[in-house]
Amino acid sequence: MSEPPASSAPPDPTGKRILMIVTTGPEERDKTYAPFFTAALMAAMEIDTTMFFMMHAPELLKKGTAEKIPLRQGHTLRHFVDMAIENGVKLLACAESCRDLCDLGPGDLLPEVKVVGAPTMADLALDADAVLSF
């Protein structure tokens, strides 16, 4: 294992693709903030960033939910959802999770969210430069 020289500039991540798999929903409040914040930061670095919400995570994207999740940072989760959207993060919700676990229809979700099937996650994962799991 060789480490890169400390003086070298970090490689420009522009145009790289990152897929984030988010599985935690409102049941664990302290775990909801980091995925959105990290995604917002990566998108600001011009990394093509997609968040894929599955299991109970799509519930975070239900209209009216994020503003009811207060965080220790002094904002509600909505602040960080909006930041991610503003920076260009793409939000995808797993169709199977929405239907079978969360009882969510497409009209229940924020307008920025696209509902897709699990095969889309496979395509995105194979296509991404990195996949992060939360």
């Binding site: 600001a44 011009e46 602040h79 930041m83 920076n87």
Partner: protein, 149 residues
């Protein structure tokens, strides 16, 4: 120097105030210096991370020239005009809180040569800038409390 809610707004700069952006521009010898304004740094809070695109990067107006992270905000600093990055404040990259403590001085972010200097005329100055600052500072409930001593 105008002061709004404790936030200093120097009169010798141009301002790019769009959506999340509150950026200053100073024109000197055909180059521009770019930085975050006092209300921008106050809104972001303690800045933990700054990464600027490398020298030589060509950017259109509105495209990111840098990424900033604080504990409660992560986002880009956008090019206020199109051009080429000719200098990066590597001291501020090492010590990002310079953007908090001295936003108009040591906390500058990058220098660019504008590709279309006419775009500079579209930036805000004078009363138009102050009116826009008042609007954003009120909307986002910003209060600046730097130690001015």
């Amino acid at each position: 120097m105008a002061i709004i809610e404790g936030c200093e707004i120097p009169e010798d700069r141009l301002y790019y105030i769009e959506r999340t952006q509150m950026t200053w521009v100073k024109v000197e010898d055909g180059r521009i210096t770019i930085g975050a304004t006092d209300p921008a740094q106050a809104r972001a809070g303690r800045i933990l991370f700054l990464r600027v695109k490398p020298v030589g990067t060509v950017r259109e107006r509105g495209k990111p020239i840098a990424t900033v992270e604080s504990g409660k905000w992560a986002g880009p600093i956008l090019a206020p005009v199109g051009g080429t990055i000719v200098e990066v404040n590597s001291e501020a990259e090492k010590e990002p809180t310079l953007l908090n403590s001295d936003p108009y001085g040591q906390g500058w972010v990058a220098r660019m040569t504008p590709s279309a200097p006419a775009q500079l005329a579209e930036l805000l100055s004078g009363d138009a800038a102050l009116a826009k600052f008042r609007e954003v500072i009120t909307r986002d409930q910003i209060h600046c409390s730097r130690n001015h001593s």
